[in-house]
Structures are given as C-alpha cells and as structure tokens.
Symmetry: D2
Subunit: 362 residues, 4 copies
C-alpha cells in the first residue's frame, strides 16, 4: 500500500477510524518557517465532524499535537509529525460489518486485498476520518503558498442537481475566494444554500444520501509549474485528488464540455495586459502542455453520494458466502460534499507547493 | 522534469518530434517473457500518422528496434530499450513558431519553464509523436496482462457531439472488445462512423478542429488491485492518463453524473453469480475504496480539440513582446481522438500491469 | 530531507531527542501477519540506554505503542505507526550548545543547512535516539524474514583495537548466531570481553571515547536477491547502513583486503554440495554482480568513536563568530559500538526484506 | 531491476555488452546549459577500452550521439538521451559460458534471478561496458558542478599492494587534482607507476589479475549538502559507488582506521580561517551527521581483482548440474582499477550534483 505522496515534499499518513490516533508525517518542508497554528486549527475545524445537523453526529475536536519538526515556533527542516487522537469512536456500531459487505464501500475489495485482516471498524483506513491529516498538511502548504502570493479556494458547485454559479474562469477576486471559507457550504450564489440544505435534510429523512461537485481555483500561480512528460500539473493534481474518498472524476478548465467544442473555441487567445502575457479566456484551466500558463488553475471534481445509507440494500456475507440484505446504521453524513471542500483545497495546496518546489531546480 | 512513470515497472521516455529518434526504456519487466513483435507492430500502426485522409499527412512507419533487454526472443529481465527513428520531419514548417506562441499549445508555458531553450520544432517534447513509445510500452503490457486473462479496449465515445453507444458497464464480450481494434475509429455503433468522419472532414475544411471522448474498459481484472491511501487505481490511472496530450478530464464509472444521483442509485448491489461475488450494476467503474472489486474497470476521458488550427488566432510574440496574430500551418490532425484510442489503451494497460505487480507482494 | 527509506516496504521516521515522541510509519507490510510484540520489545531493550555502567545513564524504557496498522494481533496491510515517548530528556544540559558547535557532530552542518532553525537539544534529529524506531522496524522485518528461514546477526568485531574473531565466511551455525543476542557486547570469543570493557571504562575515565567495528552476517539468504544496475545488494545495504549515526565505512566479504589479493584468490570456487550449488569460500560476502549467490551475506562496518567527549576541544561559536573551546558535558556513551549492534542488524533485516519483496515480481 | 538512480536528477541506463547499443537517459537537467561535448569525449576516452597494453584489447571508440534533450548547443530541460553503439563485440568468445558459471562473476546469481533468460554474452548487462554511460552522465555533472566551483578527482591509491601517497585530507590544490586526469594510472607519487605497471603485466602473464583502491576527493563543496535521515551524503554516495562493478567497500575520511582511534583523535577541531569556519583536520571526510561541513569530501573504495582470469578454476555447469573446471578466455583487463577511476569520479559527480539540487529547496 502507498501511504506516502509527493516528490519534493512528502506526506505519509497513518491511522484508522477507531485506532488510538491518526496522523501524518510531513517531510521536506523548508527550515525556519513560522507556522500559524491557529490558522491550521481553523482549517481543521472546517472539515471536523459534528458541526451541525447536516453532518455526522460523531464528535471529534480534531485537536492536534505536533510531535516533531517544529521548534520554538518554526519548522526545523526535519520531518514534522502531527498526531490527532480518536475520541468518539463507537466500535459497537460496526461489529456486524465484519462479514456483511456494504455496497459502494471499500469493504469487499479491502477484504480481498487484505485477506480479511483489515480493521473493519468504521471503515478502518478507508474512513473519511483519514482526511483530517490531509487538511493539516494542506493548511501548512497554504501558509507556504501564501508567501508566494498563491491562494487556493473551492466552493460547492453542485449538490443533488442544485448548482452554484461557476467560478469566472479568468479569475475571481481574492476577497471572493477568501470569503468562501466562512461557510459550511461555501457558495458563490447564496440563494442556492437553502435548496441544497433542504436536499440534504430530505436525503437523511429518506435514509438516503446525495452527491455533488466541487470546483476549485488557485490564483497567483506563476507560469512554469508542472513536470511533463509524466508529472504534468493535471497528472499530479488528479493523483492527489483521487486519493480523497468519494472523488470519481476530475476535469480541468471546460472539462468534458471540450468534447463538443472546436479548436477555435477551446484555444485561449493570448494578449498583453499591463505588459504581462495573459489569456483572454481560460478554457484550459490554466494548464497547457501539462504546465501552468499563469492563468488561474481551475478544475472540478465529482463527489459520489455517501455509500452509507439506511435503506435496505442487497449484498453478500463473505464468511457464510451467502446473499443477504443490509441497512447501514451508525453515524453518517447524508452528504459529504461540504466537508470535502477543505480536503480538496488541502490536497490541491499540497500538490501545488510540491510543483513549486520541483520547479525551483538548481 | 519527469520522464519516468511506474512503481514496479517503470518506463522512461525520451525524444523530440524532430530529433534523430524517440524511444523508451522499460524497467522491471519479468525475465523470460516471449514477446510477439508483430503484435506490437500492429499496435504501433494503429497510432501511426499518415494512415488516411482524416489524419496528419506526416508519414512515419514507426518501425522500432529493440536495443537491449530482449535476447533470443525473450525479455532478459534488464532494461528493455526501444528506439524509433524520426524520418519525416519538416523543420522548416516550424521555424516561425520559435517566438510566436500557438494558443492552446504548451509553447508559452514551455518557453517560460525552459527559458527559451526548449526544442520548439514540431512541438519538441510536447509533440503527440511522443505517444509512440507509450504505445510500445502498452503493447508489451497488454501481452503480459493477456497471460492473466486481462483485456483492455477502448472506443471513440464521442466526436464533435456525435456519440457512440456507451459500454455496457457490467461488461462487454471479449469478441466485441477485440473487434474494436480493427478500425481507425473504433465504434460500438457503426452507424455513427460516417457522421463522425464528416464532422472531421468539415473541421479540416474550415481550418478548425474537433474534440471528443474516449471510453475505456478493462475486463478480467481481479479484485484487490490498487494501493490506497495514495496509489488508488483512480490515482494511478488518472496520473498516467493525464500524461497523454490533450486529455483534460478523467471520470470513472458514472463519473460526473454521480453528482445528481442518490446513494441508493449509485451503490452497486452485490450478489453471488455462479458462486462468485459480483455487483449487479457498475456505477463505480469497478473501483471501490480505490481498489478493484472484480467488475470491469470503466472510465472515460475527454480529448480537447487539436489546438493546431489554420484559423486566424490572437497571440503574442515573446521575443518582441508584442501582440500578433497567427494561422498555424503544417501537417496536423483535425481530430486526434481516433489516434488517441490506442494511446489511452496503452497507458491503461501499463498502469494496470504495474498495479498487478504491486499487488503481488511477498 | 529524506525521512523515508525502502522500495516495496517503506519506513518513515520522525522525532527529536527531546520532543514528545519519536516514531516510525511502516508501509507495505503484508496483511495478516501475526507479530510477536514481546520479541520486538526484547530487540528494543538491546538498544535502549541506561542498561549498564558502560552506557549513557539516560533512562528510557523505549516502550512503544502501535497507533495503526495492527488489529486483533495481526498486521492489517495498511501503514503501521509506532510511537515511543521521550521521558528522560534533560534539556538544560544542551542549552549552551545552541551556538557552540561540538566537533565531530552534525551541529555545524545542521546549523548551516537549517539556518539555525534545527532543534539543537540533545542532537535533535541527529540524535542516536532516532535509532530506536529503526530497531522496531528491524524487529518486525526479522520476524518476516524468519518465516523464510533467514537470520540476521552481528557481533562486535573490534573495540579500541581489541578484536573478536571474525565470522566464518562460509557460515556460522544458527545457534552461534542466535546466542549473540544475549550479551550487551555480543562476541564470538568471550575472552576479549573484559579487555573491551576495560577499554571503554578507561575511555570514560579519560573523558574520551573509543570506536570499533561491527561484523554482520545473514544466513538462509536465497540466491537472486538484488536489483542491479543501481539497486544492488551492496548499494541498498550501504545506503541503509550509512543512515546509522557514526558509521563511516562499509565493506563486503574480504572488503579492503581485496585490494591486495589476486583474482585467483578472490574468486570463490563453485561446487555442488548435497546437489546444491555452493561456493567453497566466501571472499565476496555472498554477493556477485550485486546479487546474492546463496552464500551468507557478510559485511563489516566501522563505527567512529563517540564525538561527545569531556576533553577540551577547539571549536567556534557561530553566533559570535569567534573561536572558543568546549568540554561536552551531558550523558554520553563512551563507546556506542555495543548499542549499535542491534541497529546494524535492524537496518540489514529491513533492507533484506525489501530486497526479498522486490525479487518476488509478477 | 532498477536501472534508474537519482532524486532531482535521474539517470536511466540500458544496454548489454553485445547488443546494438548502450546508453543513458538523463532527466532533470536544468534547461539552457551549454555542454562542452569535447570535454565529455575526453572523459569517455579515459574509460574506453583498448587504450594500451595494460587493458583489454577490445577496441571501442565509445563515440556517442545525443538523441534528445540537447538543441542548438544547450540542454532543453527535457530528457537527454545518449547512445553509444557497440562495435567490437566478439560473441563467439562467450558462447560456452551460457552454462558454465565464471567464479567471481554475476553469472550464477544472474542465471538464478533471470531463470536463464539473461544475455550471457560478454557479461550482458553485468559488463563493465555499462560504465561508459555512467562516465557520460558524470561528465555532464562535472560541467554543472564546475559552475559552482566544485571539482571531483580521484587517483589510484593502491594496486596489488603498491600504494600511492594519500590525498592531504584538508585539501589538495586544484592544479594537483586536475593534473591527475592526464594519466592512465593517475597518481600523486609518480615513482609508484612503474611498480604498479609491472604488477599488472605480471598478473596478465600469470593469467591472473590484481585489485586495488581508488581514493576520491571533491573540493569546493559547500556546507549543507546531504539529506538525512536516510539520504545522508554517505548513503547516497555509497549507493551510487556500489553500483560500479567490482567495488566491494566504501569508507569516508579515516574509514576503518577510525575503529582504533579515540574521540579526541577522530573529532576535527573547528577554527576560523580568513573569517570562514573550517576544520583543522578532516578525519571525517568532510561529512558530519550525514551533511557536508565545507571540508573536502574524501573517501576510498576498494576494487576487487578482475574475476575473469585464465587460470584454471573450479565451478559448475548449471545445465548439466555437474562440477567442472574453467579457464576464462576472451579479452579482459588484468586490472580494472585505472579504468575505474573516471567511473568513480563520474558517479561521485552525479551524486553530488543531485545533492546540490536537493539542497536548493523552495
């Protein structure tokens, strides 16, 4: 299994939903960087469970302790390990799921892969809880990117078919982007908030769940990031993004709409603006030939509906090797899209920082 | 820059469109494997240019010589290097493009990244020509996968808004899949061939280009492939797929349609079929928790319209730092989707073989 | 910085001498392996400080907690994180050393590399204390190797010029090898124990320190381990061995004596023994062409004398940029060679297990 | 197998002694660097066979062609592939060696590892011929290091027991170091040249071979190179050095002599010299805590005697599974030490450049 990602900066995560702790080791951070731990805490809180009635009632403060690599308020340049204790695990909720596979979950592939030795409690290492260390890593990366003038922000583009307005592809103001972080459901058009909340509430009432899309933008990105042939910006970002549970699609710029466009529509004309080379449109999401062109990096991911649902489902018992039915109980989010927003931002920030360090070669 | 991809098997590519040769070094192949060089040659020919009037008139046989790692008809277990000479390069076509950036191409990001030192002739290392070594690597991988009962095939799902019927998500017959390789535009529904050809011909006549989608399926995949947390099947496949020029989106299973689905619709019910655990639907594209579940692996990529078009475009001259216009001449495909099909299959086969070898641990 | 080592199995260590904890994340272990935690504890104890009057008086039990990857007594197949708390740190001992560089230590290179941001207490991340996680990793690897019939053992070959008899190059009995682990100074010839102890005691009395050599042997190794061109057995072992603080030389088989030998002396004749291909000598330390030949893997490392000494030394103050003198106080080992023995065994076991998994390809 | 080495810069080699070509792909070189191809040719010639009667009579000019990554006299920033054709292969010399294993060679381990599928002609991929691409890579690295004021040089420290004077550990003049490259046997004390030559000539006459040592020094190295915990300077250098055929030991600074030294002898006192922090001795070979301290990097490797000897040796036939005898014929060096000197320099230069690029982080 691969618990490490990154080239110039690497993160190695560990942990299971119901073990004593989860955490991450960050390697390759520059030495002497002051970190704003309160800002990191705020990012952690955006993702933390139990925030409101739209989310899982599992209560976790997601408070963290830094075990190494941070001394007198600054990074030391050596591995920075952060540890997040698990507190509110209800292992009794899951004991029946050792043998009965939850449809839509990693239970069955994990059972096969690990020969039944995996920790099945609360999804074990497949749990969305493992995204907490990602958010920590992303919060550190955001602070480093900020020093270079780079800002990463995302919004809920769609939930249950209800759509927010998309980002303006050539760029949004930093004020607009920063304001997004204040809300549990970050939106550009606040009029869709209530319909989205209603859809989530309705799904919960129906013992069902809903999916959606997240759109992410990074502004302030210099031209030149990306390491083709094989480590294009799209390759590295998608690699990281597909590590986030429930992500099933990633598309840059106009994405799948490009299939129906002509070259004359999809090509972004170039021009000079205040003596700077720019594109006047951004159908390519700020990336050409796998390398950033100085326009905002823009992409969209799809988040599938939470597979844990209370409705009756057909499945198998792998111990008895029989067909059976299942109603998943326990504490679940009827929609993980809002809580996935800071996670998408986090892996994006981490990957862009890695690409930035890769670009700065000797 | 990163010219190497893979974990247990690695490929390292080199070359530019107008240099003496392009090639690839394959590392980590098992020893003693007989390779069918004629079958490899057939795969190479599927991608080769100059096949018909729908494609670029550049003539390249893409014949190859194996320089190492292959002895007495079998792999030696050491690095297998293959070399493909460039013959039909017209460098005069490109000399004007040193300073005038082609919109939609990697010209400008490459100019910034490499400080103007990149080989600008024919797109240099950004050229689609570099996909020839990928097809070689994929053809080798296909032969190794075939011994495990795994078959990878793709079809043109969409060109210029005209759509082929999609794959049956729970699986297509091997006959259907194998038959796809015979055509320049591989289709499940041959009635859309002529409309697609017309759209391409029309785009060429208009000095424009068209995009499309490719859908790819792998059958015979065992459950258990994939190395989460960070090397999920989706992560590794998308990483490789986004290395293919013009790919701007990758989506697994129902992809972006999952945004509007409910959990009860997106979860694939499990059942026993001839005593084997199966899913009765395949909305998740054969991957759950980042690991294959034994269903066909299924995904779709979008290919943007060829950025090289003869229409007048607005751009900049980076030497004079002035705005200018450009009509791209030279020999270009008005639609690269058909030639991209074997490339998509190739990187998919290579990645699945890597995942298969990763799964077989001590 | 690189805190991760390994290909098929990776370990990522973190921690500083005086931080809250040190630890390691082991990734890539097979699922379902029962681990004998008591046996691991015994290995940890061999390295732990404060065992006797020959070693540092710093008291650390080096008890550990497994945070993830271990469930119901078996590995889960996901990242196994172990955490070792620091208890007996005396930070007051080190505060003066922030500016005054200790000769022979990483203080000055670390100060330059990390711009003064490194944790200087107790050597920070350069501390020998970081070898505790290595021993944990090695203890796990030993249990997995044991299932394949592989045994790794080492002895103190030399301290302060006093020499133990060398291993019989063609192999020692398992009883002999296993018996070595019982002693703080593992020796083949126990008559040199007292002279060695006296030399250490004398060095301490003189506020000085002594160095030595460790010889290590692995038996039961199959032929075929090693991944040349660049990941030969020697390359991978030396890479890991030189990560152990104080190691300054690594030599396989007859090592530097080969410089004065002839081919007819250095070549190991081959023969059949009970129908098995063997060598009748082992001047090459069980490795030819970078690959194991089935003979015991045999090598020797040199451990430099502990740089922390009470004697007056000339050095510089990097803050005042002046020359100065220093007498290092604090709790130090006058000879780290005995405590380095289990560490050398550990990194050897880890590396051989990695090579074993690398060999088992698809 | 691993045919790639390096972190920020990677080289991937391919080829066998008797295949059409050998070569290397260099990845990660900065863009826009002018390369002096004549200087590279001179380095290649230092290693090339057939230079004089002390070496193998195999004639290879080792002329090279650059296939990619080099345009208009400068690096492009993309993969630089170099190709060296094999000309003077006498495959008839080796056909008997398919089954009869040469003692001291990788024949038997290779036969086991590759199940008999390896190219056995001329040692195949184990051939010393594969060091030619290493020298090319090293020559490129030397030019890049030179721009940073770094010079790497080596001399024959010992052949057949006859010793050159060692390097002055605190540094040799650049004139002295540069002068070494002029001779087939580079020596600091030219009075030992004739005895060494005689020893080699005598070994050849006796159908035997001799070994030796090479000492290597890099001057101009800044403090701060090295990436502990696991990628210390010693770890990375030894990893690369042990990839060179026949190297069996690597020792830094005083090396194995440190076993008999006291801390007060082995610690290098620090002082200020022209306001610069220096050590007044260099027992640690310029490396402390795995990081360079600004003193010359200094180490020694042992080269075992050429295993190919004409004397009668006992061995086995792996096809018939019988004991047999063998007199190795063909064209061999009775002593590879002189030709190994530029190879040692090459892998050292490559590794130091990689470390230099690793140090320059964001």
């Amino acid at each position: 299994m691969s618990s490490t990602i990154g080239d110039r900066i690497k993160m190695t995560i560990y942990g299971e939903s119901h073990g004593p702790s989860i955490g991450v080791v960050l390697d390759g951070l520059p030495a002497g960087v002051a970190l704003d731990l309160e800002a990191i805490g705020r990012e952690m809180k955006r993702r933390a469970p139990g925030q409101n009635k739209l989310a899982t009632p599992r209560k976790e403060t997601d408070s963290f302790t830094i075990e190494s690599g941070f001394f007198e308020g600054r990074t030391t340049g050596m591995a920075l390990c952060v540890r997040i204790e698990n507190h509110n695990a209800h292992s009794r909720d899951y004991s029946l799921l050792k043998d009965v596979m939850r449809p839509g979950h990693g239970d069955y592939p994990g059972f096969i892969k690990f020969h039944g030795a995996n920790d099945y409690r609360g999804g074990g290492s497949f749990s969305g809880r493992l995204t907490a260390p990602l958010v920590f890593a992303g919060a550190v990366a955001k602070q480093l990117l900020s020093r270079e003038g780079i800002l990463v922000a995302a919004h809920v583009a769609e939930i249950a078919g209800i759509k927010d307005r998309p980002f303006r592809a050539v760029g949004e103001s930093r004020e607009t982007l920063e304001a997004l972080q204040a809300d549990y459901i970050p939106l550009l058009d606040s009029t869709v908030r209530e319909p989205m909340q209603d859809a989530i509430t309705k799904a919960r009432a129906e013992k069902d769940s809903v999916g959606g899309c997240i759109e992410c933008m990074a502004v302030g990105i210099p031209a030149g990031l990306g390491e083709p042939y094989f480590d294009s910006v799209e390759s590295k970002l998608s690699h990281a993004l597909f590590s986030v549970p429930a992500v099933k699609g990633v598309a840059f710029g106009d994405g799948f709409a490009l299939a129906g466009m002509k070259g004359s529509e999809a090509n972004d004309p170039m021009a000079l603006k205040q003596d700077k080379v720019v594109c006047t449109t951004n159908h390519n999401g700020g990336i050409l030939g796998g390398i950033t062109n100085g326009m905002p990096v823009l992409f969209r991911v799809v988040i599938k509906p939470t597979p844990s649902i209370g409705k009756l489902q057909h499945t198998v018992n792998v111990r008895t090797h029989e067909e059976t039915t299942l109603e998943v109980t326990g504490r679940h989010d009827p929609c993980v899209v809002p809580r996935a927003v800071p996670v998408i931002e986090a892996v994006t920030a981490w990957t862009l920082l890695d690409l930035l360090f890769l670009m700065k070669r000797g």
